[in-house]
């Protein structure tokens, strides 16, 4: 047990701790390194924001993350690179299998992406700038000093806009977030976490700490005897003779998701016979929340008042999805399952559950949620288009979407798993012919079976089926980045010009 103040927040980039919601103006840049020395000089002085709380809160923030190509370009050694996960090294578009699993097929296929479609040519650096309303220009001038323009080439400016807490379809977003257990007050033991908990081990989000398995996620460790520049890096917690390059760092997953806002509302309007209440109901059941963020759950959750329900609920009382359809976006992205199905009261019932007895055929089909959580830090883009306007056939044409960002310690177990097994799977939790109603592509299975349905289970019996859903969200780009801790950033900026030889 340790106190929150003991945590090395001063070595973490702030995004792991804050969403910077008050800093409404943002500028996300994809950069290539044009001049390595200038880049290092800039990095050395860059005002990267740390995860420490300040009073008053900051007016600006700067965060930085590297692709594997960026790390290589800056001279990070092959042995460090090889310590990262395959997903990071080979990227989001590493092979066709990966694209099949992530649902990046059909219109989502990497060949149609605007950026990131070629792992070998990934932009080197992702720079995230945040500022208070109206403060962005000044902040950019500070960050983009003379070294900056010499060091980098701007490849792409990812659009973002301030939409408050509302995402482009019109729903309040960002409600479900894990709470990171900075003080390690919760056990990760498989036998003590029957029920869903929103509290999550630090090692699920930050590298170099114990994860929900009580283990250290594989990561690059350095023998300081072989690399004299490594002395300033933190020690590996599980082996103090080694230095941990990744400690206090995290993987940053970025996906540019185009949202067809008029398409979404016009389709809903059509299938609900242009009855606004019906349209709202259907939209809410696809999302799993009303537009104001209220989740569609059975009303009585013991011990929690209804106004606190936003992120404090489970689906235990709604196993068949009569309130919140199983396929609803928020239920797929976080099914809020525990290690054991509900109903464990003592040793005998626990044993019965562990051995798989006493279950209905469609129960207990979903993995335990705590191993598959994402810390989301995305920002929307495009002009605000209210649903009431979006349904009109002459709705203004514009690009809307989400720069989806999530931070995870294990890309394959967290982001890729959620994307593959939960949101994109047409067989999630025993469902039929439906992918995520918002996020899903509508490509049929190899057997020809369609996947463009949305089923709302009804207590009366037959499901309410909505068929021929168009695709509402299209992937326009994506990539995996590493967001290092502050000491690792110092290590990178201090690397000698010839990166291949670090030995003293």
């Amino acid at each position: 047990m340790r106190k929150s103040s003991d945590f090395e927040f001063d070595d973490l980039q702030g995004l792991l701790h804050f969403g910077y919601g008050k800093l409404t103006d943002t500028c996300f840049m994809l950069l290539n390194i044009a001049n390595v020395d200038a880049a290092k000089r800039w990095l050395d002085k860059a005002p990267v924001s740390r995860a420490i709380k300040t009073n008053p809160p900051p007016d600006t923030a700067l965060q930085i993350a590297f692709s594997v190509q960026g790390l290589k370009k800056l001279g990070v050694s092959e042995s460090i690179i090889n310590g990262f996960s395959d997903e990071f090294i080979y990227g989001m578009t590493r092979n066709e299998n990966c694209s099949r699993r992530l649902g990046d097929i059909g219109r989502n296929a990497p060949k149609y992406w605007k950026w990131g479609n070629n792992s070998a040519e990934m932009p080197h650096i992702l720079l995230l700038l945040y500022a208070k309303k109206g403060g962005l220009e000044a902040w950019r001038r500070t960050v983009e000093d003379e070294h900056f323009s010499q060091a980098f080439q701007l490849l792409r400016h990812l659009p973002t806009s301030d939409m408050g807490r509302i995402e482009p379809f019109g729903f309040e977003d960002g409600i479900s977030q894990p709470t990171i257990d900075w003080t390690c007050r919760q056990s990760t033991d498989l036998h003590e976490r029957d029920r869903y908990s929103n509290l999550l081990a630090v090692g699920e989000m930050v590298l170099g700490y114990r994860n929900e398995y009580g283990q250290y996620t594989a990561r690059p460790l350095i023998d300081p005897r072989k690399d004299r520049y490594a002395t300033g890096l933190p020690n590996a917690e599980d082996d103090p003779t080694l230095k941990d390059f990744s400690r206090n760092g995290t993987y940053l997953v970025l996906r540019q998701l185009d949202q067809n806002v008029p398409g979404f509302w016009q389709f809903l309007d059509k299938v609900s016979g242009s009855v606004p209440e019906k349209r709202e109901q259907l939209a809410a059941s696809m999302v799993g929340r009303e537009r104001n963020g209220t989740p569609l759950i059975a009303e009585h959750i013991p011990g929690i008042s209804r106004k606190d329900h936003g992120n404090h609920f489970t689906y235990d009382l709604d196993p068949t999805g009569n309130h919140c359809p199983i396929s609803a976006h928020i239920r797929r992205s976080n099914p809020r399952t525990g290690d054991l199905p509900p109903g464990v009261t003592g040793f005998i019932s626990r044993l019965i559950k562990i051995l798989g007895f006493g279950q209905k055929p469609e129960e207990d089909l979903v993995a335990s949620s705590r191993f598959h959580r994402l810390l989301r830090r995305g920002r929307s883009y495009g002009p605000i288009l209210a649903p009431e306007d979006a349904v009109k056939l002459d709705a203004p044409v514009a690009e809307h979407g989400l720069q989806f960002i999530c931070l995870v310690a294990n890309i394959s177990r967290q982001f890729e798993f959620v994307q593959n097994a939960w949101t994109m799977s047409s067989k999630f939790s025993g469902l039929q012919q439906e992918r995520d109603p918002l996020l899903g592509n509508r490509e049929p299975l190899m057997s020809g079976e369609s996947t463009d349905h949305f089923n709302h289970p009804e207590p009366s019996g037959p499901m309410q089926k909505t068929c021929n859903l168009p695709q509402f969200i299209t992937v326009h780009g994506g990539g995996y980045f590493f967001m290092p801790g502050l000491r690792a950033l110092k290590y990178i900026s201090a690397l000698p010009a010839n990166g291949s030889d670090h030995s003293s």
């Binding site: 299998n97 055929p361 025993g430 299975l445 009804e458 089926k465």
Partner: protein, 434 residues
């Protein structure tokens, strides 16, 4: 009821023929690793009793790992294995195979030692080279391929019809809805568009053998229990000694290897898994392994034969086979979902079971009291299972697009057609499945 059985024909590949054999097997595929069901060598879809089949070239890529135990690796030559899961008797099925795919099989097996393409008794040779698993798991004993197809057609047809009538009849009018659906099924059956064949009678011989096995194993264990009780403390002591001293191999699999495996995966909703490795050295590990597999087999046959293996409902078929005079073990399964979710399901839901079975194999992460830790050492486990996995050259599934959960649901829908629900709640539940 028609029980399921297995076949697994293995033979050493002739020196110098590996490449040709690979190319020949690849010619059966539609996409990497997936058989074209109507391919000319073995037109799998012609065999209506065949659930799953695969060709694997078993290579001992990880055999050097046993050196960590101070044991010299045994020589192993690449071996072709042709295995499948079928309805009814193995020998009858092999005869059918020999009848309908004679030339294709001859062409394939001619790459193996002691087989000549001409003047060889194919059926006799296959029977001779068939090996039985030490443990076998069937998702639902008695559910035939024919039944699966008939029930899938029933579901599809009911689903379309219900969609058509539900608004006119009214969602709340469940009894009328049911009546209409039932008459529709009768009509479709009469028109020959739907068939619901009654189950075949169960062979008395199988029933007797099954009962003997069901009673025999626990009875033997009961009789031996005094002896087992005496052994138990020594077993526990020795187990903990080994668990502490066995080397743990933390070796990350080569990315090329992962690429090769994943190229075959996630085309359908189900995937195949073939894994091959060494049994840990020593009689203790071998006997423990055999004992655990005997229990696994018993539980699979008599307890877990109705759609779930402990908490796992995504495995269609799985088997464990000892090879190389009990020095090596081969495991094959057919599962729903992608590889990563299969493994996560395993770790979180049945890590204990996995530890029980696989902790006796070289490379498995360290366990504690045989059921604890092990698979929960996430990276060590995920690395070792991928490292020991071998590519499947050709894989066939008779019902693409259907998961084991789908199959179980379709059977429940059919049951609702044949057995009248007694109350409204049951009718609603039945309607909600369609």
């Amino acid at each position: 009821m028609t029980p399921q059985s297995t076949f697994m024909i293995t033979a050493t590949v002739r020196v110098g023929q590996l490449k040709n054999l690979r190319a020949l097997l690849a010619s059966m595929n539609k996409v990497p690793g997936h058989a074209d069901p109507g391919n000319s060598l073995i037109p799998f879809s012609r065999f209506d009793r065949l659930h799953f089949a695969r060709f694997v070239i078993i290579e001992a890529n990880t055999t050097h790992e046993i050196k960590e135990f101070g044991v010299r690796p045994r020589p192993w030559r690449p071996t072709l294995a042709f295995l499948g899961d079928i309805d009814g008797d193995t020998h009858a099925f092999l005869a059918e195979l020999a009848d309908h795919a004679d030339s294709g099989l001859r062409k394939i097996f001619s790459h193996c030692e002691d087989f000549s393409e001409e003047n060889q008794n194919l059926l006799g040779w296959m029977n001779e080279h068939n090996i039985n698993p030490k443990a076998n798991y069937v998702n639902w004993i008695g559910r035939t391929v024919k039944q699966i197809h008939e029930e899938a057609a029933l579901h599809q047809s009911l689903s379309a019809y219900l969609q058509k009538i539900v608004d006119d009849v009214g969602r709340e009018n469940i009894r009328t809805l049911r009546q209409k659906l039932l008459s529709y099924v009768e009509m479709e059956k009469y028109q020959g568009r739907l068939t619901l064949s009654p189950p075949e009678p169960t062979l008395t011989e199988w029933k007797v053998r099954n009962l003997l096995h069901k009673v025999g194993v626990p009875l033997t264990l009961l009789l031996l229990s005094p002896l087992l009780l005496v052994i138990a403390p020594f077993f526990a002591l020795r187990l903990r000694m080994l668990e502490r001293s066995d080397p743990e191999l933390f070796i990350r699999p080569d990315y090329k290897h992962i690429e090769e495996l994943s190229a075959q995966e996630d085309w359908d909703v189900s995937n195949q898994y073939s894994v091959f490795g060494d049994v840990k050295p020593g009689l203790f590990r071998l006997l423990t392994f055999k004992f655990i597999l005997m229990l696994t087999d018993w539980f699979a046959r008599h307890v877990y034969n109705r759609g779930f293996l402990a908490r796992i409902k995504t495995i269609h078929f799985a088997r464990w086979v000892f090879m190389d005079n009990n020095h090596r073990v081969f495991f094959a399964s057919n599962y729903d979902g992608s590889h990563e979710s299969y493994m996560d399901d395993f770790i979180n839901k049945v890590g204990w079971g996995l530890n029980l079975v696989f902790s006796n194999a070289v490379g498995y992460p360290t366990t504690k009291w045989i059921i604890k830790e092990g698979a929960q050492r996430e990276h060590a486990f995920k690395y070792t299972q991928r490292r020991h996995q071998i590519p499947t050259e050709v894989w066939y599934k008779a019902y693409p697009g259907l998961t084991a959960v789908d199959l179980a649901r379709n059977s429940r829908i059919r049951q609702g057609v044949e057995i009248r629900q007694s109350n409204d709640a049951e009718i609603r539940e039945w309607l909600s499945l369609i």
